[in-house]
Structures are given as structure tokens and as C-alpha cells.
Amino acid sequence: MNIVVAIKHIPSIADDLPVSGNNVDFDSVDFVLNEFDEQSIEQAVLVKEAVGGTVTVVGVDLIEELDNILHLAIAKGADKAVKVTADEPGADSHMQAKWLSEAIKGLSPDIVFAGVQASNDLDGQIGPMIAAHLDMPYIGGVSSVEVADGTATVNKEFAGGVGAKYSVSLPMVVGVQAAAKPPRYAPISKVRQVAQTATIDTVEPSGDASSGLTFKKMAPPVATGHAEMIDGSPKEVAAKIVELLKSKGLA
């Protein structure tokens, strides 16, 4: 079974996001793995553990720092890693999906996993676009996947615990909301070991696609309101919150 995981390296939203011109200042932000891709990698490894096969992780190397992410994925159970060497930090989802599709095609996948969304999916997510390019069905918001006899059974979540179960003839693309189990931890020592021994295949970007969006402006949202800030030490903050709650009959 050929299991492929398409990942996205994205600007971290944990820190400030400086803007340059009409887009994020990609030179001065940290890039991290899309959080849903952690779930997606875990779900792929769970499927491999259940039915056997090979997990190949594929990503676009936007800032020449993807190796660490790929090593981590291998330490967590992936078997192979491929990077598309784009060196284009601002590549949008359409470009990445096209390049990834071209790279994935040659792997003859039975199932492709992608994170259900990423915080920088201004032009949509790569998962459904890869499905369109590879002419495979797509289901997103998935929280469990079981594979047997060329068919995947997936649970899709709508909201509030309501969902639906689907059966899909493979191949397909799955947009992972959450893996069936929380992502496993890979010890640093193992990641270091992988970094010394693993090979990462390299492919050139192939194919043209564009979001068709022109960025006119990028800025923090104009706040319509702001919280009344409670200043002071944690103890003072706690006292003021308790006082506030008591004054409203809530404590």
C-alpha cells in the first residue's frame, strides 16, 4: 500500500507576523509544520501499522529548511521523504498543490493524506486541489480512517460531534482534522539519528498554477473593540477577575 502525506511548511502564528508590502514578510518569520499535518502524518502511520505499506511524506521546500520537518516525520514512522525544491517562501496553495501533485503522481499512491486546512490557506487548501489534479475523490474534516480491500472507511466531522461515515474506493485524498489517536512523540535522539542516516529525495517544481489572487493589502484586522485590560501581577489579575465575577453574581 502506497501511503503519501502532503505537508505544508507555513509561517508560525505563535509570534508576531511582520508585513512587507502586501504580504507577510517571509524573511523574518519562523516557519513551522502546519498543525493539522501533524495529525495527518499520525493518521498515515496508523494506517500503515494496520495494513502494511510505505508512508512517503512530500512537501515543498520554501525556505530550504524542510529537512528538519521531514526528519521528524520519519522519526514518527514515515519511511521516505521527498522535497520539491521551490525556494519560494510565498508560494500559494495553488502552486504548492500543483507541484505536489506532479511529485505524488510518480509515487502511484493508494491514499494521500493532507491536513484539513492551514492558517495561510488564503486561496484554499492543498488537499482538495491535489484531489482535483490527480482526479481522485476528496473528503476533509476526517477523524479516523480504516483501510481494507482497496476501500477506505472514513469518519468526517461536521460540528459538535455530528458526522458521517463514508466508504471510498481507493485511491482518494483525505483531509485530516484529527488522527484517530493523538500524534506520537519522537525523541530528539531519534530525530538526530534519522537526520544522519535518512535520504531525502529531491524533485524540481513541475507544472504551473496560480491562485489568481492579487494581494492588495495585508494588515492586522481593524479591531471593532478591545478588551478592557486588567494590569498587574498574576495575583492582582486574579483578585480583579474574582472581584469582577462576584460583582456580577458569577462567583
Binding site: 502564528i13 505563535a14 507576523l17 498543525e35 495529525q39 495553488h94 484539513v116 486546512q117 495561510n120 490557506d121 488564503l122 486561496d123 484554499g124 487548501q125 492543498i126 482538495p128 486541489m129 482535483a132 475523490p137 476528496y138 473528503i139 474534516g141 472507511t153 469518519n155 466531522e157 461536521f158 460540528a159 459538535g160 460531534g161 458521517a164 461515515k165 463514508y166 466508504s167 471510498v168 483531509g175 482534522q177 484529527a178 493523538p182 498554477a209 491562485s211 489568481g212 489572487l213 492579487t214 492588495k216 494588515a219 484586522p221 481593524v222 473593540g225 478588551a227 485590560m229 486588567i230 498574576p234 495575583k235 489579575v237 486574579a238 480583579k240 477577575i241 465575577l245 456580577k248 458569577l250
Partner: protein
Amino acid sequence: MSNDILVITEHMDGKFSDVSFELVGKAKELASALGGQAVAVVVGGGVDANVFASDATIHIDDAALGQFNPEAYGKVIEALVKEKSPRLVMFGWTATGMDLAAWLSAKLGVPCAAYVKEIGSDLMMGCQAYGGKLMAEVAPEGDMAIAACLAGSFPAEAGQGSTAATATASPVDLGSLKVKFVEAIKPEGGDVDITSQTKLVSVGRGIGGKENIELAEELAQALDAALSCSRPVVDAGWLPRTRQVGKSGLKVKPKMYLMLGISGAPEHLEGMKSAELIIAVNTDKKAPIFNVAHYGATADLFEVAEAMLELL
């Protein structure tokens, strides 16, 4: 090409979601500025489609469309969009819309904007991305565009009406689908119902680990509140899905919503923004939640929680 706006509505158990009315209302405003029609598209049966204020409503029903099926719905919508050549196709950035909008964009080579919160009559779109930290203004190129809009961006009332729907058969053959709906999944029972609580203490990624849930639970008990959380906490396995507030979780409207370590991504705000009193404690002074909360503090949640416990 026309100047029509197609709105892909969504429904479940015979009821349209609020976002459908929000999009139809916005489509009417845009269509009137562009000189086109606002057309509501209803895919699937078991629903009264005569409920929109649209200029026209197309109702496509077929046995294969009885339940949401991204493959079948995708094929139907693709065929309809090709036939109508609208100026804009609007989806909700929802569990169903997210399966279709980007797929259709890649399939047809038409620009797509996601996380859309604002649309101007020139079709400039405001997208709230990067976890709500940045707002991008984007202009789609070409004669057709797709917008996947965040729920709650436009007023729903403007989309409510009684336009009589025109029923049509599926424009494509749905005979050999790879995706088959098996069954509906109902919420797990047996846990606290966070939607019926008057007070919630809600924890986010900032809680750091499962071992710290106890402290939050203790604070919730001291306040006679229930414990809820944002999505990453559930995905990490620290709390069950029944406690999740937000777009993919539950919508809550408590009298008190005390947030510890939740930054306030748009997905979370969808689930709690109408709480009566929102207090947020977060170490990131630029966290988007401070634009929504009534009271906020830039502080370590553990120190604040422990100090509150001493006072309660």
C-alpha cells in the same frame, strides 16, 4: 459570462445552516450592484427550499444527493457552474464548503479566496487568515471567482425570504460514484453538556499538557462552572470532543466564559462570541482574542488560576 452570484447553500436534517442565509443576503447586495441575479443553489432533498430571499433558487435533487457526498455534490456544482458561468460562486468556509471550494477552483482553474469575511461590490475580498492575526485584501483575476466565507460574516436576516425554488434533475450522471455515504454519526452522550452551562472555564493550547487539566478543572469547580476547550486540546487527547467549543465543536452562549490560553482563532470565535461575559488570560498581548473579550489580561494562566483558587 453573467453577473450572477451563485450561493451553494448547506442543510442538515431538513434545516439550512445560518451561513446559507448570510451568503444569500450578501449575494443579493452584490448582484444588485453588479446587475446580475442572486441564485441560491440547494443540493439534495428532504428540505423546504422556498426559504431564501434570492432572485432565484435552483433545487437539484437526486437519490445520490440525499446525504452530503463531496464527490456527488462536487460533480453537480461543477456542471452547474459551467452551465451558468456566474461572476462569483459563494461557499461557506464550513465542514462541507471546505470540501468543495478549493477543489472546484483547481478543477476549473478559477481563483478562490478562503477565510473570506468581507466582499466589496468590486469583488475585493477581505480574508482573515493566519489564525485571525492578519487580514488580507485580495482581488481575484478573470471573469469568475470563488469565495469561501467564514460563518457569521454577514447578517442572516437579509437572506431569509420565500422565493419559490425551481426543481431540476441532476445535470450529471451520478451512477458510478467512488464515495458512498454509510451512516450518520451522532454525538457521544454521557458527558457534561457544555451548551447548557451558564459558566464555562475554557482552556486552549496554552494549558500545555494533560497534566495541567486538573488545575483548570479545579478552578472550574470552584467557580461552579464546567470545563470546555478549544480544538487543539481535543486533538492532543487532553479532553474529550464533547468539551470542544468552536466551528468543529459546539456553539455555546454562557453568562461567563473564562478563557485560559486561547488565542482566539476565527474557528473558535464562531463557537463563543455571543457569550455574555468573556474574560481572556493569555501571554501573547497581540492574541486576537483581546479584540473580542470584554476583559483581558496578559499573564501566565497557571499563576492566575492558582491565585484565583486561593481567593475562591
